[in-house]
Structures are given as structure tokens and as C-alpha cells.
């Protein structure tokens, strides 16, 4: 992997002051922050930013958040899943007001990224809020007129937990070469064939590209989910080096 492949090269990552310009509810527990970041150098889909919060007494803490938007000038979107006993996500989700400043640095990460000039087919597998960096890829593909064929398999607990539900419906209709399939683990929508269940071999076999097509695979979600999906992909013959993963949350069961 060439060092020059990282946007911004190896220049020092400075903290920037972003401002919240808009907030959108996505689900009852997730919301999108639309930020204006003067001087933002642009990013690749799949990269993240570090967000730093500082209290009046100087106490400071940081978290990483995946970027949800395609690169677009000084505009940046983060989708934050509220963790009820969390220290940072409730603040970002509920307290930070339009016009408020927040510090961030980035973009960070040069591995879990997709480049719109890549032509290989792409399999995206998301669990819960793991959709966020994958949505940045879907949006970048659309914005850049990318021709790579995309298949997205999205596992959610219930239809209400589906982040970007309306946009995904629209994109699946309008974006040529993008297929979207869902798995519901707790509660399926009316008329859904079958019972709620965890994503399994048959889902991946049916809705992801076959290993013969040598697709790039991006898997993002809670640790146990990612472990299971990555194991399935390997069992179905995908080369490990084509399977890129991003895990979050506590260790799996």
C-alpha cells in the first residue's frame, strides 16, 4: 500500500473547528449531524474523523466516527448512534445545537476505503449502524458516476432501525447497478417472507457477489456480526485480502 494513497498524504492532521449546520433524525436512536468544516481536504468513503469534546474545566475526550457523506467541499456528515450510557454520543445526538462548534481531525484511515475509479464489483455487508461508512461508498458511487456494481446486504433489528431507509429505497430504484437486500433479526416488516433471523450463509450466498467475481468486500458492524460475516465470506471462497472489515462495540459472544 503506497503512502501517497492517503488523502492529505502524511501532512500533520490538524484539529479543525467544525460547526453544526443541520441535524437530521434517521431512526429513534440515530441522527445525522451536518457539519461545515472550513478547509476540509476531502475524504474517501470509509474514512473516519476523530471528534474531541472539551468541558469548561479542561476535561477532554475523543471518539472516532465514520463519515457518512461523499466528499463535498467543506460539508461533512456524521451519523451518530446514541449509546444511552455513553459519554460522547448522547452529547452529539442531543445537546450539540445548530451553530455550535465541535473539534475534529481527519480524514483518518486508508484501508477500509473504496475508490470510485475501482471497477471491481463490490459487496457491502452492514450490521446496524455499520451502514454508515458503507453508505458513504454508495453515495460516492452515485456522486462520481461510478460504474462498479454494488450489492448491499443490510442487517437490522426492525424496520424502524433501518438508517437511511428512504434514501436506500430511492437509490436502489435510481442507481443503476446497486442492489439492496435486508435481513431483519428481531421484527420483519409486514409481508416479509420468513421469520426474523440472523444473517446466514444463504443470505450471503444469495445477495453478495460470488467469490468467482473477485469482488471487494466491505463488512462493518458489531464485532460478533463482522466475525460471522467474514467467516462466511471466507467459507464461500473469498480471498481474505479482499475482505475488509471494521468492527465496533464490545467483543463478540
Amino acid at each position: 500500500m503506497a503512502r501517497a494513497a492517503v488523502p492529505g498524504g502524511l501532512s500533520r492532521l490538524d484539529w479543525r473547528v467544525a460547526r453544526l449546520v443541520e441535524r437530521r433524525a434517521e431512526t429513534p436512536s440515530a441522527g445525522t449531524l451536518v457539519l461545515d468544516v472550513p478547509g476540509w481536504p476531502g475524504h474517501l468513503p470509509g474514512q473516519h474523523v476523530d471528534v474531541r469534546l472539551t468541558a469548561e474545566d479542561g476535561y477532554s475526550t475523543q471518539r472516532s466516527y465514520s463519515i457518512a457523506s461523499a466528499s463535498d467541499g467543506s460539508h461533512l456528515e456524521l451519523t451518530v448512534q446514541r449509546v444511552d450510557d455513553g459519554e460522547v454520543s448522547p452529547y452529539l445526538a442531543d445537546v450539540l445545537a445548530v451553530g455550535d462548534p465541535v473539534e475534529l481531525r481527519g480524514p483518518v484511515g486508508g484501508w477500509f476505503v473504496w475508490r470510485h475509479t475501482d471497477t471491481a464489483p463490490v459487496t457491502l455487508v452492514a450490521g446496524g449502524s455499520g451502514i454508515v461508512p458503507l453508505m458513504a461508498m454508495v453515495r460516492t458511487r452515485r456522486a462520481a458516476g461510478g460504474k462498479a456494481l454494488f450489492r448491499l446486504l443490510y442487517s437490522v433489528r426492525t424496520p424502524q432501525d433501518c438508517i437511511y431507509a428512504d434514501e436506500l429505497r430511492r437509490r436502489a430504484r435510481e442507481d443503476f447497478g446497486l442492489d439492496v437486500a435486508y435481513v431483519y433479526t428481531r421484527e420483519a416488516p409486514d409481508g416479509w417472507p420468513g421469520e426474523p433471523r440472523r444473517l446466514g450463509v444463504a443470505d450471503v450466498n444469495t445477495h453478495a457477489w460470488p467469490a468467482d467475481f473477485q469482488p471487494a468486500c466491505f463488512v462493518c458492524g458489531p464485532t460478533g456480526f463482522v466475525e460471522a460475516v467474514a467467516d462466511i465470506l471466507i467459507a464461500l471462497g473469498h480471498e481474505p485480502r479482499r475482505v475488509r472489515t471494521e468492527r465496533f462495540g464490545p467483543s463478540g459472544p
Binding site: M1, A2, R3, A5, V6, G8, L10, S11, R12, L13, W15, V17, D50, R52, L53, T54, A55, E56, G58, Y59, S60, T61, Q62, R63, S64, E87, Y91, V95, L96, A97, D100, P101, V102, E103, V108, G109, G110, W111, F112, T223, E227, A230, D231, L233, I234, P240, R241, V243, R244, T245, R247, F248, G249, P250, S251, G252
Partner: protein
């Protein structure tokens, strides 16, 4: 100090003198890996040190686990901001493995089953600072956490503690590994917050 975030108070209930700047405490054990988890059977496992002159020193599983082991309790600091305190590992000190290795190299490039690499100075592997760990809290290290054996270098960010460790190449010149080539810091001292190149 950064700009104040209006209405942010943070959570400082626990005393956190052992936390490097920017880190928060976690009780569970997150798994962060760039790809699928490799499963490496111990009957084919091998650990190799290759010197700057090309000389190879190898250990199979039986040979490694027959070496004197140490049990250490250390704090872990991940560049993604979580820290886990007081973890207990058992393994072989790199002092033991490098004892009879003839080398004048200053740098080490560590490689893993699965293709991962990371670099660090040789001196950071010596003097009781680094182990090839194969037990965690008294149990075999699970594949998700790098089993059967992982490097453990707790004084650096955790990406330096390569999971599924396979070998170490000793070099005169520093050579960046996987994350270092993607913009992360070449050294990675949590107490100096060396997260990314230029920090």
C-alpha cells in the same frame, strides 16, 4: 486545550491517573482487525526471526511453549481511544527469544499470519517490554484476540501488538508496516498521543 464544547461536562467519575491523554476506559475487550480473523492451528504454527544478514531462527509451538514463560499484568491502549487496564497475559519474553540471535539491527518489522505488519525499534522489544503471548487471563488467547500467539508491547498503542504473530524481520532501516503506511505514527507512544504521522 481545545475549544470548549458548550454544555459538555464529560464523565470523570472514575479516577483515571493511568489513562493516557484522549483515552477512555473500557471494561470489555473490543476487537479491531482490518480483515477476517485467521485461524492458525498450533501444529503448523511457526515463529521466525530473520536477522539483517538473512539468518533464520525458528520455533514451533512445542519449542515456544517449552521456553520459560512470564505472566504479566499490563494496561492496553488502543489508538481508537479505548484503554483496558490490568490485563494479564502469559508468554515468552522477547529477551528470551532474542538472547542468542546475532544482530546489530535497530529496527524490527513484525509480520502476522494473514499478512498484517507493523514496525518498531528493536530496543522496544527488549528489557522486559515485549512478549509473544499465548494465554490471556489464564486461558488460551482466542483467534479474535490474536491466538494462538500475539505480540504484546503494552507501552505502545495496541496496533503494534501484532495479532497472529508469525515472525520478526530485523532491519538496519525502519520500514513502515500496515497501519504506518496508511498514515499512523511510526512509533505510537500513547502518553505522547502519537496517533498519526506528524503527531
Amino acid at each position: 486545550m481545545g475549544i470548549v464544547s458548550p454544555g459538555f461536562h464529560g464523565r470523570r467519575s472514575a479516577s483515571t491517573p493511568k489513562l493516557p491523554p484522549g483515552q477512555y476506559l473500557t471494561e470489555d475487550f473490543p476487537v479491531l482487525t482490518a480483515g477476517p480473523t485467521p485461524r492458525v492451528p498450533t501444529d503448523t504454527w511457526e515463529f521466525v526471526i530473520i536477522t539483517e544478514t538473512g539468518q533464520r531462527y525458528t520455533w514451533n509451538w512445542a519449542q515456544l511453549t517449552a521456553l520459560p514463560a512470564q505472566t504479566v499484568t499490563v494496561d492496553l491502549h488502543c489508538v481508537t481511544k479505548w484503554s483496558k487496564l490490568g490485563t494479564t497475559w502469559t508468554g515468552v519474553s522477547l529477551d528470551t527469544l532474542l538472547e542468542n540471535v546475532e544482530t546489530a539491527a535497530d529496527y524490527a518489522l513484525v509480520s502476522s499470519y494473514g499478512g498484517y505488519t507493523t514496525n518498531l525499534p528493536v530496543e522496544d522489544l527488549l528489557d522486559g517490554q515485549a512478549w509473544i503471548a499465548y494465554r490471556y487471563e489464564g486461558e488460551d488467547v482466542t483467534p479474535a484476540h490474536g491466538g494462538p500467539a500475539r505480540l504484546l508491547v503494552p507501552h505502545l498503542y495496541l496496533w503494534k501488538s501484532a495479532k497472529w504473530v508469525r515472525g520478526i524481520q530485523l532491519l538496519h532501516e525502519d520500514e513502515p508496516g500496515f497501519w504506518e503506511s496508511a498514515g499512523y505514527h511510526d512509533y505510537g507512544d500513547p502518553w505522547r498521543e502519537q496517533r498519526y504521522q506528524g503527531d
